[in-house]
């Protein structure tokens, strides 16, 4: 019964997405042309985005990838190949979400799952994070964080388990979003990656972990008068 409801929702999304995709195709094409794309590429890329949206998948990740490729002056045929690969991963991401019990995954969540697949995660990884997360938004953030931790050098399964464990322990989305930053602070202070992983898995207080590593690390305290100036975090370093 639950599966039938999920299929109905997906079917409705596909039906609605078809109209939306057709309506957006000229806008996407125009956006690509403004960024210097050739007309044949703009036609192909916007058609690919429309086809993806018609399948109920988010189209924005594909558009962003096309814009990134154009900005980097990548060969347009190569951009299309990468876009198709991303579309495939979005599909795999959605299937993994449905398999993990998420009946109607949001576009953000599908995009996060697709990006997770793009970075080498699999359906088990995605399912573990989604099942531990208390909400769809938390699941999307969790997948982003797990992918980022894995990209920072933490073993993939450890990154997934750290996020899932954090949610199971009652950590908030905000806490989970702090994990990459805390891990980076520990690494910057010379803490071994194994120890960083252990600290994350033990779910110690993240700020304490960052401070304990070297003492000087701080989370910039936000002023209270404006939400946009909540923090003056610093990021960057020695040149290339």
């Amino acid at each position: 019964m639950k599966r039938r409801a999920a299929l109905l929702i997906v079917a409705a999304a596909l039906a609605l997405g078809g109209g939306t995709a057709r309506a957006q195709e000229p806008q996407i094409r125009a956006e690509l042309l403004r960024r210097g794309a050739d007309e044949p590429f703009a036609d192909s890329a916007s058609a690919l985005v429309s086809a993806t949206v018609r399948q109920g998948l988010p189209g924005r990740p594909l558009v962003n990838k096309a814009l990134e490729g154009l900005a980097k002056h990548v060969d347009e045929a190569r951009i299309l190949v990468v876009m198709r690969g991303l579309a495939t991963n979005l599909m795999r991401g959605r299937e993994a979400l449905l398999a993990s019990g998420m009946s109607a995954p949001t576009g953000d969540l599908v995009a996060a799952a697709g990006e997770a697949f793009n970075r080498g995660m699999d359906a088990t990884d995605v399912g573990d994070v989604v099942r531990a997360a208390p909400s769809a938004r938390a699941a999307a953030s969790g997948l982003v964080v797990a992918s980022s931790l894995a990209a920072s050098g933490i073993a993939r399964r450890d990154a997934v388990e750290a996020v899932a464990h954090a949610y199971r322990s009652g950590r908030s989305v905000a806490d989970v979003l702090e994990m990459p930053s805390a891990a980076a602070a520990l690494v910057a202070r010379g803490v071994d990656m194994t120890d960083v992983t252990r600290r994350l898995l033990e779910d110690r207080d993240l700020q304490d972990a960052a401070h304990a590593a070297g003492g000087a690390g701080t989370v910039a305290q936000p002023p209270t008068d404006h939400p946009a100036s909540q923090s003056g975090g610093r990021h960057g370093g020695p040149g290339h």
Partner: protein, 230 residues
């Protein structure tokens, strides 16, 4: 009672008040019948008026379902209505006028349009501000140390990879370039554009990923409390 008496045709005629007087035997039957009827009437005890009063009192507060149904039927059943065209036209004009007046009144009471987020006082002059969406923005400082560079810019998922990018400002003679941006909470991929053409990942970024084009994107996850200072 019919079992105890035997009727015959002449008796029935007599009871109906028609025909000839009955014979003596028949008369006896009639008399017996009359006596039995009188006894039956005496045996009947009249119903107390209190019962009638109680029933009527109980029904006093109720509407008749038949009457209610009749009202409802008046609304749902078809009726022949005769309308004068002039009256109908006047009614339409009156309705339209009322509708327009209502719309005009509502327009004067429209809610104010939501204002965009006010500029952050600590920000440098707007840099590609239209490209940056700030649902829950956190200030993040980007730095690149490159003494040989003449120009350094920043582009990423947060500005739609728009080229030539967000310019970094050179800090004195140290060769350090920097810019501070309000970024939404979440993950961002980015890179530096050195001298307008060379895409360079941030060497101090917490994570690097393959961009699919044979190059590397730097990755940063901005938490609600900002980025911990390494």
């Amino acid at each position: 009672m019919t079992d105890a008496m035997e009727f015959n045709e002449s008796t029935q005629h007599h009871l109906d008040g028609a025909g000839t007087p009955p014979a003596a035997a028949d008369r006896a039957d009639v008399d017996r019948y009359r006596e039995a009827l009188a006894a039956y009437r005496e045996a009947l005890t009249p119903v107390s008026t209190a019962v009638d009063d109680g029933v009527m009192a109980a029904l006093a507060g109720r509407h008749s379902p038949a009457r209610r149904r009749a009202y409802w039927h008046w609304f749902v059943e078809p009726h022949a209505v005769s309308v004068r065209p002039a009256v109908a036209a006047a009614a339409i004009v009156l309705f339209a006028t009322g509708l327009l007046a209502t719309r005009a009144w509502l327009a004067t009471r429209a809610l104010p349009v939501a204002q965009p987020i006010a500029a952050v006082p600590t920000l440098p002059p707007p840099i590609h501000a239209p490209d940056i969406v700030l649902p829950e923005a956190v200030l993040v400082r980007f730095e690149l140390h490159d003494p040989k560079a003449t120009r350094v810019a920043l582009a990423g998922s947060f500005n739609g990879w728009a080229s030539p990018g967000i310019p970094l400002v050179k800090g004195g003679a140290t060769g350090s370039w920097s810019v501070t941006l309000p970024l939404p909470v979440g993950e961002h991929q980015y890179g530096f554009i050195v001298n307008g053409k060379s895409w360079t990942p941030d060497p101090s970024a917490p994570a690097q990923v393959d961009d699919g084009f044979g190059r590397t994107n730097s990755v940063i996850v901005v938490g609600p409390r900002g980025v911990i200072n390494p």
